[in-house]
C-alpha cells in the first residue's frame, strides 16, 4: 500500500478532537474533563505535525513544542485549582460547583 495521504491524518485528528470535546461536555468528574482537554490538544498536535511533514517545514514541529510546554503549565495550574476546590467543596463533580448561577 502506498503512503498515507495527508487527509487521512487530518480526519483522524478531527475525530480525536471531537471525542475530546464530547468528553469535556459530558463527563462529571473534573479530572476526566482535564484528560479530555489533553486529548484535544494532542489532536491538534497531530494536525500540526502532519502539515509540517507535508509542507516540509520545521515550523509545525516548533509549534507542537510550544503547545506541549503550555499544556504542561496549564495542567499544573489546573490541578492545583482542583485541589483547592476539593478542599472547599469536598467534590470534584462539575455540576456540583455552580455558585455563580443566577
Amino acid at each position: 500500500m502506498g503512503p498515507t495521504p495527508l487527509s487521512w491524518y487530518l480526519v483522524l485528528s478531527a475525530v480525536l478532537f471531537v471525542i475530546g470535546a464530547l468528553g469535556v461536555l459530558v463527563r462529571r468528574n473534573i479530572i476526566v474533563i482535564f484528560m479530555a482537554i489533553e486529548l484535544m490538544l494532542n489532536a491538534v498536535n497531530l494536525t500540526f505535525v502532519a502539515f509540517a511533514r507535508s509542507l516540509a517545514s520545521t515550523d509545525g514541529q516548533v509549534i507542537v513544542f510550544f503547545v506541549m510546554t503550555v499544556a504542561a503549565a496549564e495542567a499544573a495550574v489546573g490541578l492545583a485549582i482542583i485541589l483547592a476546590m476539593f478542599r472547599n467543596r469536598e467534590t470534584v463533580n462539575a455540576d456540583e460547583i455552580t455558585s455563580l448561577r443566577w
Partner: protein
C-alpha cells in the same frame, strides 16, 4: 407725530414718575419692616412726588408743538433678531391725562388709607402693594410700546389679586382674588394673540411705529379675515377682562372683598380703565375696522344696561358701587365704539373723581358703622356723618348726570356721540338713556337707604357712629370739589391732537357739532326723574320697594341673583374643566403615564428574568455554547 428731546432733561423726567413709587415699594420691604410707621408717610409721599414730576413733565410737553410726544428711552430691553422692544416711556396728551389721574387720585386714596388702615397690623404690606400698583399702572399708561404696556397690564392684575385677597386669612377673600386673576387671564390670552398678530404683520409693537404703518395694515388679512378686525377683537377681549365688560365682568363684584381704598383706587378709578385706555390708544387701528368698533359699542351698551339693572336690586353698598362701575365702564366703551374716544377718556377722568369719592364715602360709612355693609341696616346717617353725607350727595348728583356737575358733561358727550358721532347708532343712544335713568335711580336709592329716613342699625352700632378722621375726610372733600367742577376741564378738545384723525378721511375724535339744547334737557330730565323716583320709593313711601318686588316676583329674584351668570359660568366652564382635570389626575396619569414608566421597568425586569437563566453556573453548559460557536465558525470558513 413729532418726537423730541428738547431742553436739558425733560424726557428723562418720565422715568422718575415710575421710579418714585417703585422706590416706595423698596422702602417698605426693607426699612419699612423695622419702622412700620414710616409706611404712612413714604407711601403717600412717593405718589405725591410722582404727581409733581408728572406736572413738570406735562409743562415740558406743552413747550413742544401740539401733538408732539416726549419719549424717554430708559433702556434697551429685548433685541432678538428682528424683534425689538425697548423699555421706553412716552408722554403725550393722552398718557398725560391718564398719568395725572393715576397719581393725583392715587395720592388722595393713599392719604385716605392712612386713616382707614390705621388699626390694621398689616398696613406696611398694604402700602407696599399700593405703591406697587401705582408703579405698574404708570408703566401701563406711560409705555411706549405694547409689550411694555402688557407688562404693566400684568402688573396691575397681580396687584389686584394681592389686594383683593389682602385679608387672606378669610378664604373667601383669597378665592375672590383668584377669581379676578383667572378671569383676567382669559382676556390676557386673547390680548397676547392680538399682539402676536400685530407684530407679525408690522414687525413693530411701539405706538409710533404702528401709527406709521396704519395704511399698510388697512389691507392686510389673516386667514381670510381683515387683520385690523381680528386684532382689534382680540385686544378688545383683553380689554373686556381688565375693564369688566360682558362676558368677563364677573370678577369685579367679588373683588369688593378687598379693603375699600383698594376698591376705590383699582376697581373704580384706575385699573379698570386700562381697557378703555388701550382701545383709545389704538384708535387708529380700530378706525380701520368699523365692525370691531361696532362690537365695542354694542358690548359697552349692553354691559351698561345689564349692570345697571342688577345694581338696582343689590343690598350691599359696595356691590351697588361695583355694578355701577361696570355700567359706567360700559358707557366709556360705548363712547369708544361710536367714534368719540375723547369723550370716553373724559368720562374716565370724571368717573375717577366721583366713583373714587363714592367708594371712599362708603368706606367712611362702613368705618363709622363698625364694618356694616348691608344697606338694609343703615339709614338716617345724614345728621351724624355730615361731611360724608354732603360729599356723597355731590358724587351722586355727578354720577346721575345733573348739570353743571362733571358727570353731566362727560356722559352727555358720549350719549350725543351715539346719535351724531362718526359711527353713530341711535339705538344704542336710546339704550344708553335707559341705563342713565337706572343709574340715577340706583344711586339715589343708595343715598336714601344709607343716609335718609330712619336708622335701621342696631342700638349698639348706633351708639358708636362717629365721623371719620380728617385723613379720611380730606380726600373726600377734595374729590367732591373735583366731581363738582371737573366737568369744565376741556378734556376732549385737549385730546384732539392725539385722538384726532389718524388717517385722512377718518372722522375726528368727537362729534362735529355740539349737542343741541333739547338733548341736554332730555338728559337732565332723565337723571332728575331717576333721582326723584328713588327718593319717592325709599323716603316718601318706604313700603313701595316691597310692593314692587312682590309684583315682579321671579324677575326680581333673578335680578337680585345677578341673573345667575356666575352659576352659569360655573356649570358651563368651571365644572367641565375640573372634571377634565380630575380625569387626567386620577385616571390618565396613574394609568398611562405611570403605566408607561412602570411598564418599561417591568418589561426590563421580565426580560432579564428570562435571560438570566442562561447563567446556570455549570461550566459544562458554558462549554456547550463554546462548541456551538465553534460549529458556526467552522461552518462559516468551510462554506468560505
Amino acid at each position: 407725530m413729532v418726537t423730541m428731546a428738547a431742553g436739558p432733561l425733560p424726557t428723562e423726567l418720565l422715568r422718575w414718575i415710575v421710579a418714585l413709587p417703585a422706590a416706595g415699594v423698596l422702602w417698605h420691604v426693607s426699612a419699612g419692616r423695622r419702622w412700620p410707621a414710616s409706611a404712612r408717610v413714604v407711601g403717600p409721599g412717593v405718589v405725591l412726588g410722582a404727581f409733581a414730576v408728572a406736572l413738570a413733565a406735562v409743562a415740558a410737553l406743552h413747550a413742544a408743538p401740539e401733538g408732539a410726544a416726549l419719549r424717554d428711552h430708559v433702556a434697551g430691553w429685548i433685541a432678538a433678531g428682528p424683534f425689538q422692544a425697548d423699555a421706553a416711556l412716552r408722554l403725550d396728551r393722552l398718557s398725560a391725562v391718564m398719568t395725572l389721574v393715576v397719581t393725583g387720585i392715587g395720592f388722595l386714596i393713599h392719604v385716605y388709607s392712612v386713616g382707614y388702615m390705621h388699626d390694621d397690623p398689616d398696613s406696611v404690606r398694604f402700602f407696599t402693594y399700593l405703591n406697587l400698583f401705582i408703579t405698574a399702572m404708570l408703566v401701563l399708561v406711560l409705555a411706549d410700546n405694547l409689550l411694555l404696556l402688557f407688562v404693566g397690564w400684568e402688573g396691575v392684575g397681580l396687584c389686584s389679586y394681592l389686594l383683593i385677597g389682602f385679608w387672606y386669612t378669610d378664604t373667601a377673600n383669597a378665592v375672590a382674588g383668584k377669581k379676578a386673576f383667572l378671569v383676567n387671564r382669559i382676556g390676557d390670552a386673547a390680548f397676547l394673540v392680538g399682539l402676536f398678530l400685530l407684530w407679525n404683520a408690522t414687525g413693530t409693537l411701539d405706538f409710533a411705529g404702528l401709527d406709521a404703518r396704519l395704511s399698510d395694515l388697512a389691507t392686510m388679512t389673516v386667514g381670510g379675515w381683515s387683520l385690523p378686525l381680528v386684532a382689534g377683537l382680540l385686544l378688545l377681549a383683553g380689554a373686556c377682562g381688565k375693564s369688566a365688560q360682558i362676558p368677563l365682568y364677573v370678577w369685579l363684584p367679588d373683588a369688593m372683598a378687598g379693603p375699600t381704598p383698594v376698591s376705590a383706587l383699582i376697581h373704580a378709578a384706575t385699573m379698570v380703565t386700562a381697557g378703555v385706555y388701550l382701545v383709545a390708544r389704538l384708535h387708529g387701528l380700530y378706525a380701520l375696522a368699523p365692525a370691531a368698533l361696532a362690537v365695542v359699542a354694542v358690548i359697552g351698551t349692553a354691559t351698561a344696561l345689564f349692570a345697571a339693572v342688577i345694581g338696582t336690586a343689590q343690598t350691599d353698598i359696595k356691590r351697588v358701587l361695583a355694578y355701577s362701575t361696570i355700567s359706567q365702564l360700559g358707557f366709556m366703551f360705548l363712547g369708544l365704539g361710536v367714534g368719540v374716544p375723547g369723550a370716553a377718556i373724559f368720562h374716565v377722568v370724571t368717573h375717577a373723581f366721583f366713583k373714587a369719592l363714592l367708594f371712599l364715602g362708603a368706606g367712611s360709612v362702613i368705618h363709622a358703622l363698625g364694618g356694616e355693609q348691608d344697606m338694609r341696616r343703615m339709614g338716617g346717617l345724614a345728621r351724624r356723618l355730615p361731611v360724608t353725607f354732603w360729599t356723597m350727595v355731590a358724587a351722586t348728583l355727578a354720577i346721575a348726570g345733573i348739570p353743571p356737575l362733571s358727570g353731566f358733561f362727560s356722559k352727555d358727550e358720549i350719549v350725543w356721540g351715539a346719535f351724531a358721532g362718526p359711527h353713530a347708532a341711535p339705538v344704542l343712544g336710546v339704550v344708553a338713556y335707559t341705563a342713565a335713568f337706572l343709574t340715577a335711580f340706583y344711586m339715589g336709592r343708595l343715598l336714601c337707604m344709607t343716609f335718609l329716613g330712619e336708622c335701621r342699625a342696631s342700638e349698639e352700632v348706633q351708639h358708636h357712629v362717629h365721623e371719620s378722621p380728617w385723613t379720611m375726610l380730606g380726600p373726600l372733600v377734595v374729590l367732591a370739589a373735583l366731581a363738582v367742577g371737573g366737568g369744565f376741564l376741556p378734556v376732549p378738545r385737549y385730546l384732539d391732537p392725539v385722538l384726532g384723525a389718524p388717517l385722512p378721511g377718518i372722522a375726528a375724535a368727537h362729534a362735529e357739532t355740539p349737542a343741541p339744547l333739547g338733548v341736554l334737557a332730555l338728559a337732565t330730565l332723565v337723571a332728575a326723574a331717576g333721582l326723584a323716583l328713588a327718593y319717592w320709593m325709599y323716603v316718601v313711601q318706604p313700603a313701595m320697594p316691597w310692593i314692587v318686588t312682590a309684583q315682579l316676583g321671579g324677575f326680581y329674584r333673578l335680578v337680585r341673583d345677578k341673573f345667575r351668570v356666575d352659576e352659569l359660568y360655573d356649570g358651563v366652564v368651571v365644572r367641565p374643566l375640573f372634571a377634565l382635570a380630575g380625569f387626567f389626575a386620577r385616571v390618565f396619569d396613574p394609568a398611562v403615564v405611570d403605566g408607561a414608566v412602570n411598564g418599561a421597568g417591568v418589561a426590563v425586569a421580565a426580560t432579564s428574568a428570562l435571560w438570566r437563566r442562561l447563567q446556570t453556573g455549570n461550566v459544562q453548559h458554558y462549554a456547550l455554547s463554546f462548541l456551538l460557536g465553534a460549529i458556526v465558525l467552522v461552518a462559516w470558513f468551510v462554506r468560505g
